[in-house]
Amino acid sequence: MKSLSSAFEGKKALVTYIAAGDPDLDTTAYLLKLLDTEGVDVLEVGIPFSDPLADGPVIQQASQRALAGGATLKKILGMLKDLRNEISAPRVLMGYMNSVIAYGQEKFAADAAGAGVSGVIIPDLPFHQGEKLASLLREQGVDFILMVTPNTPAERLRGICERASGFLYCVSRLGVTGESGTAGASPKEYIDRIRSHTSLPLALGFGVGTPEKAALAAEAADGVVVGSALISLLEPCGTDRELLRSKAVPFLRSLREAVGRTRR
């Protein structure tokens, strides 16, 4: 398995997000293998939560489908453990703090490492609140991935960069996940500002749903995160593997093309 930072070496990284268990865990396992085969560099795996306050409607509904399908954090970790030798791209768990509290923070860190997880993102756990979990993860060799937003002041940005590991998740705009409707301005100025504080790879996400937007994002950042757009595309396919493959592959290839295969 590759380390998280090596996923960004020598090329712009394509990062995808899918909600685990949407609509069932077997389908998620199938999709993760497919995404890996299609050259996705980092696989974000969402832990469904009843109250995902940082997510827009697409991921909210995906979470609801996953919960209706019986997904739990325990089962998700079990699935990832079973897959650990079948996938080469590093996996990152993304979920909300109450899921981790219910599971137990120590046990979560240990079991995530045991399931081959390379990093964890908790969108409702800013660094000044997450020191305990960050150190438990660090002890297990799992990166605690932090987020930066366009309104993060310089002083706080320095604090985030001092503590960040793996890569930095740069939120493209104020808002929740998914399409914003507003055209994305060039992210170059934003990314340059962050880059002056850190040498970690910078992945740009939120609202990057088309190859055009991905290309624009990849011009400035080291990686591009695509979530809601992929989920929306696959949702009508249900659990039909052939349909999933036929929808996913062309989209992933166009994203791959847009993001570029090599660092300029």
Binding site: F49, N98, V100, I101, A102, D124, N151, V171, L174
Partner: protein, 395 residues
């Protein structure tokens, strides 16, 4: 952070990174307002002439007589403008928003009382106001929806999740994450990320401060017991705060037991929940083994919330306050009894506090003084009560 974010282990800021600068800015503005005499100079006449403060402390002779035990006093927050204690906090936060140069106000509401209070304050200062309300609550509190509309607020019916208060909070937070630069989120209870639990309590503590002075004047001593209903817990923190430093005064919070805590259909967060994270703070929460938030149930929309303010969790863990619960049936019985005995129609929320008094104060010695926060009036609950009555008549 200049002030502590925590009450014991509870509280904190479990929020998306986007909101961290906004919470810093809010804390700064809030602390500055405490030091700034012009803020209280603006607030005090509003509370007096617009809200109608101080609210009376009323000795309830017929409740007292019917119980044959403790003397019962009611703190009449139901007499405030807009009909509940919510206006104290809404005015404070909207004043703060105006000072911070925010032109747009966001709020969540369950029963609609906080929504009405916020829409009122926004109208008073000519600010745009958007209120998020679960679709289910929009139906059961139609009169309050109409009031907000009249006051110029836009009510957004929330269709996500369980379509109740917790989902309205999620949606308000999602709005705020998107509009953080020009919007101010007026949270209606002592919940949410720091500094809200502290700030809302401070805007509500006037209830207890007044009650303390009033009872000293009437009885020459402090009460033995202070009782208030607890959903998020703002009216309870408001009346408790002035008495926390007097250990001889028992503080009792009454949660909504819905159809009974044992049925799972309840909102008794401290009695039956465990510590977790909901809506930005670490506190007692109702959730299952996988961490999924459990829908709450209560006949009163204002208590129908699966979380509770972090300071209540702290008061519960340290034993300074005790938390009990009352069922839907007990609350309705207390509602009716209060109407008949005192000519006061209490809110169904406040009726939970009264229910605890009715079942416990009769056995207390006659010189015991019980102070109840009558946090709101029951006009808004007429539909609920009428539909109950028609069901009873049919059966």
């Amino acid at each position: 952070m200049k002030t502590s974010m925590y009450f014991g282990p509870f509280g904190g800021q479990y929020v998306p990174e986007t909101l961290v600068p906004a919470l810093d800015e809010l804390e700064k503005a809030y602390l500055a307002s405490l030091e700034d005499p012009s803020f209280s100079a603006e607030m005090a006449p509003l509370l007096r002439d617009y809200v109608g403060r101080p609210s009376p402390l009323y000795f309830a002779p017929r409740i007292t007589e019917s119980l044959g035990g403790a003397k019962v006093y009611l703190k009449r927050e139901d007499l405030n403008h807009t009909g509940a204690h919510k206006i104290n906090n809404a005015l404070g936060q909207v004043l703060l928003a105006r000072r911070m140069g925010k032109r747009r106000i966001i709020a969540e509401t369950g029963a609609g009382m906080h929504g009405v209070a916020t829409a009122t304050a926004a109208a008073l200062f000519g600010l745009e106001c958007v209120v998020y309300m679960g679709e289910e609550d929009v139906h059961r509190q139609a009169a309050n929806v109409a009031r907000m509309d009249l006051l110029g607020a836009k009510v957004v019916s929330v269709m996500s999740g369980t379509r109740t208060l917790k989902d309205a909070v999620n949606e308000a937070i999602r709005d705020w994450v998107t509009t953080v630069e020009d919007s101010f989120y007026v949270i209606g209870s002592v919940m949410g990320p720091h500094p809200y639990p502290l700030m809302v309590r401070d805007f509500q503590k006037i209830i207890g401060e007044e009650a303390k002075a009033q009872i000293l004047e009437k009885e020459g001593r402090l009460p033995d017991q202070v009782v208030a209903c607890v959903g998020g817990g703002s009216n309870a923190m408001g009346i408790f705060h002035a008495f926390v430093e007097h250990p001889e005064v028992a503080l009792v919070g009454v949660e909504a037991a819905g159809r009974g805590v044992e049925t799972g259909l309840h909102a008794a967060t401290i009695s039956a929940g465990k510590p977790g994270v909901l809506h930005g703070s670490y506190s007692y929460v109702l959730y299952d083994g996988d961490g999924q938030i459990q829908p709450a149930h209560s006949i009163s929309a204002g208590l129908d919330y699966p979380g509770v303010g972090p300071e209540h969790s702290h008061l519960a863990e340290t034993g300074r306050a005790s938390y009990v619960s009352a069922t839907d049936d007990e609350a309705v019985e207390a509602f009716r009894r209060t109407c008949r005995l005192e000519g006061i129609i209490p809110a169904l929320e406040s009726s939970h506090a009264l229910a605890h008094v009715y079942r416990s104060a009769g056995s207390l010695p006659k010189d015991t003084i019980v102070l109840v926060n009558l946090s709101g009036r029951g006009d808004k609950d007429m539909d609920t009560i009428l539909s109950l009555q028609s069901k009873e008549e049919q059966s």
